[in-house]
């Protein structure tokens, strides 16, 4: 017949809704005490150790073990390696390995595995490959003893072996699908059925683990695009733990009664002056000009207003846990526009100069940009910001080297040499290769000194860098490790993301 029921689009829409039945796994139960759900804004490029980054450590720590374990306070403890020792030249590190560890397929973890992993790491082209620069090879001394040969001393080698470079994957799987099917000796294994790469990773406890099992049967890591959503998730108990960086979200977290939060000073924020030799901006070659910039900024107000006072003022790039740290250097450059103008005048630029800096809105918000340009204008420096897309910013700054300086957030690991390697040695953040005799000498001294004698030259270097005003640090930022009250979090020295081992059930 031709009679039809009255049609509304509602019926059609219902059809569409019902189509949606298949689906991926979401984050597992939130209030289940056996499950730890970590919220994060960091997504790993892959789960292949070659692509590992410190900020994504928990993802890797779930499925891989590192050779050396870095304790929350930054000291090193045995993990897959039970003992280690340097030779006198500091170019040979002998590692003694555990003998009771095997990969899932039965392959034993041994010196061959260490050799395979370590020798692959610098070659595999990951973002941290440079940390094993100077690796000449790994010698298999016997089944469970490996000797790492370096071309020159690397004072941070142990740090790196507790970090990205230290994750040991099954040598049989290297280069073969580790990205999405990790194969390590870690306490958990990835549950591919409930994992949706890019949003949720679910790790299940392994039945057999060589070490002390971690307290959670299941660990889920959920990635977020916005800290606001992340914090809301913690507030409603769907996320057990997270790191909160934005000032406003921190104040939410602090004021919310049910939440536990642990503050930690981690990154420092500041200008890195790349062009200390004056290639782009000749004025910057003069130390007095760089000092003037340091004096020009009103750091206390910036700290108070831009990050709601959540941080500590500093004028040095070394972290508080490093040997190089000198408390009095934190107040070397007072806010003193008068002095800044004098210094500029002494340097022959009484009328100031022009400066163009890159601005990535995620790091330099409008208020910061305005306040810095206002402060610099005060002393005659005319600052312009170029707004850069994140996709192109790194190329513009590091490949094209188009800017004399840049505002960055940098981690402050407890290991002095990490800071030296990244900020002082020619390369990464010193791509224009600035140096001077003092720096060269001190670096050599630190590199070759026995462990207990490296502190003094490091402090010396720190003082020299502050005096030469290589950098314009603003403050160390305080982050809040927040939990919904069911988890206790122990911050990890020098890293924003606590190690996976640092989470325990509360109470």
């Amino acid at each position: 017949m031709h009679t039809r029921a009255p049609a509304t689009p509602a019926t059609a829409a219902a059809g569409v809704a019902l189509l949606v039945l298949a689906g991926c796994a979401g984050p597992p139960g939130d209030d289940d005490p056996a499950t730890l759900t970590i919220g994060t804004m960091t997504v790993p490029q892959s789960l292949d150790p070659a692509d590992a980054m410190g900020s994504a450590a928990p993802y890797f720590q779930a499925v891989y073990d590192s050779l050396v374990r870095r304790e929350p306070d930054g000291t090193y403890a045995p993990m897959l390696a039970t003992e280690w020792s340097y030779d006198d030249t500091l170019t040979e590190l002998e590692l003694t390995l555990r003998e009771d560890v095997a990969f899932d397929d039965g392959t034993p973890f041994d010196a061959e595995a260490v050799k395979a992993n370590l020798e692959r790491f610098p070659e595999a082209g990951g973002g941290q490959a440079h940390t094993l620069e100077g690796l000449e090879g790994v010698e298999v001394a016997d089944e469970f003893r490996a000797v790492v040969h370096l071309s020159q001393p690397n004072r941070a080698l142990l740090y790196y072996l507790s970090d990205a470079a230290g994750f040991m994957a099954n040598p049989g799987s290297l280069g073969d699908g580790l990205a999405t099917a990790p194969d390590g000796t870690g306490p958990y294994e990835l549950d591919p059925g409930r994992t949706a790469i890019g949003t949720t990773w679910v790790f299940e406890r392994k039945d057999e683990y060589w070490g002390e099992p971690l307290p959670y049967e299941e660990v889920a890591i959920s990635a977020f695009d916005r800290e606001n959503a992340l914090v809301n998730g913690v507030r409603t108990g769907q996320i057990n733990a997270a790191v909160v960086q934005e000032a406003d979200q921190q104040s939410v977290v602090r004021s919310e009664p049910g939440l536990e939060s642990v503050p930690q000073d981690i990154d420092y924020q500041g200008l890195i002056l790349f062009d200390r030799d004056g290639h782009l901006v000749p004025e910057l070659a003069d130390r007095r000009v760089r000092q003037a910039v340091n004096h020009a900024l009103d750091r206390p107000t910036m700290l108070d207003k831009l990050v709601d006072g959540q941080g500590e003022l500093t004028d040095q790039v070394f972290g508080t846990e490093t040997a190089a740290y000198e408390p009095e250097l934190d107040s070397r450059y007072e806010h003193d526009p008068e002095r800044a103008r004098e210094l500029l005048a002494e340097a022959g630029h009484p009328d100031g100069f022009d400066l163009t800096l890159p601005r990535m809105p995620e790091i330099v918000g409008e208020p910061m940009a305005t306040s810095i340009s206002t402060d610099l204008a005060e002393v005659g420096i005319d600052l312009e910001w170029d707004e850069l897309d994140p996709a192109n910013a790194l190329r513009a700054v590091f490949t094209d080297q188009a800017y004399p300086a840049m505002v960055m957030n940098n981690a402050q690991p407890a290991e002095d040499w990490v800071t030296v390697a990244e900020l002082v040695l020619p390369g990464t953040f010193n791509f224009l290769g600035t140096t001077d005799d003092t720096v060269g000498e001190l670096v050599r001294e630190i590199q070759n000194a026995p462990a207990d004698e490296a502190a003094e030259p490091a402090r010396e270097l720190n003082r020299h860098l502050v005096e030469e005003a290589w950098f314009v640090p603003f403050y160390r930022l305080t982050y809040q490790h927040v939990s919904d009250g069911n988890v206790e979090i122990e911050p990890q020295s020098g890293a924003a993301a606590p190690s996976l081992y640092n989470y325990t059930p509360a109470g």
């Binding site: 031709h2 939410v252 207003k305 995620e362 409008e366 208020p367 306040s371 402060d375 707004e387």
Partner: protein, 588 residues
Amino acid sequence: MSAIDTASRNAPARRGAVRRFAASPRAVVSALVLGTIVVLVALAPVIAPHDPNTADLGRAFDPPEAGHPLGLDPAGRDVWSRLLHGGRFTLAGAAVAVAVALAAGVPAGLAAGYRGGWFDTLADWWFNLTMALPAMVVLLASRAVLGPTVWTLMVILGLLVAPSFFRLVRSTVAAMRGELYVDAARVFGLSDTRIMGRHVLVVVRAPIIIQTALVAGMAIGLQAGLEFLGIGSGDLPTWGAMLNEAFTNVHRDPLLMLWPGLALGLTSAALVLLASALRDVLEDRGAPAATGRRARSRATGGPAPSVSAEDRTALLSVRGLTIAYPHDDGSAKQVVNGIDLEVRRGEILGLVGESGSGKTQTAFSVLGLLPEGGRVEKGSVTVDGQQIVGAGERTLRRLRGSTVAYVPQEPMSNLDPAFTVGDHLTEPLRHKLGLSRARARERALELLRQVEISDAERVLASYPHQISGGMAQRVLIAGAVSCDPDLLVADEPTTALDVTVQAEILALLRSLRTERGMGVLLVTHDLGVVADVCDRVAVLREGRIVEHGSAERVLTAPEAPYTRDLLDAVLDNTPARGPWRPREEETR
């Protein structure tokens, strides 16, 4: 001639668009708000107390105070000044989006709608493509190519919303391409471009203005959304950027969100209100003075007139009926003015008049179905002894179909195009008479045969657009008599039909009257029709009955001068024009 009736009813509302605009509170308020915002923003450099970019970080988040009426923002800038200056970029951005959308959509829509053909196909395809593009990806990618400024984003946005203008203009123009005045313009020798400029643009102007207001509002909202996603204006202080900045500090200073939020909300609300007010003003769709609800309650609320014994004997009895359409200003236009009518069983009464005489209104009032805004002011209408005026919907529903039925003028528009003839016929049968599906179908076939449709089975399965006008009128008559009514109200039932079909329909009415003893109220302007079928006739002029009597008497010996005028105008006896002769001698 209901079209003309409607037109003349609307005729008193002869007011210019400007005056209608001024009379609409919605329009005035929204225009005022918008105007104030635009003026404030345009004067920003003059009235803003501070430079929008001068920052004093130390005073960031300071509350309102003298000199800083809305306080200071997270960078220590004056919020009020930023709001004023920011409005410039926000509104200018929206203007850019609208301008681009207009420039891209309107000419293409004009050309596609007017010329059709390959250009239409191509343009339509292209704009469909634009609409299918994921806007966010396009915006992001273009931003990466062209740089992070609000202008780029708004240009791209304009291109993305251009299809809405294109479609609007194209469909409006395509619809008017068939209009006679466009044909006329072509006959006069107007070129296509001039036709577009003169006729087409004038017609699409109103919808474009409305759409412009909506798109402007949307662009402003979208700007804010993009800022929220971190893809914004660069360093320009747009309202969206301010809102987003306030959002990132909402816990520290919630009040900061209020001002840009208010500015955005007010502007968007004013734009959408203006659009809807403009629609009413420009498209002349203003609600009638009395809205339906009030009109209905008035029509049903009054005390029902009593029914006299005399009224009970007649099938239809109209006494002193006055129908009026109230105006905005409280006065009312009376379209029917105290008329009396009577139809007995088996009798056909012709109600004759010219357009605007009120004959169709009378017919509607018999059905209790006056158009919106109209109401019975005085008098009574009884059908089979039941009072129609003031009767409740339930009573009317019972009477309609089974006691009084209706045959409309224009057969096509009176059938629901979405339903088959069968649906139209069986629905009342099943609903009113409670017949089963099969019985109703049988009865429907029977009815179609009764109205002399030979291939009833096929017609039953047809949709209205698949049958001819004459056929449709037969279907409507079949539907009207399906529940065996006593009175048939036929409103110009043959006017839209060819004369040969008209003769058949009239014959059908006549036989229904004879066979079923039905009474018919036949509304018509055609005296020939009256002569053909009516027993009695009432002549209506400007809402009053000027003459009433047997058809034969009124048509052969009219008493009222107006009836005589009407009869004089009939061409039946006008001599045919003589043969043509060349007219060389008639030099002027």
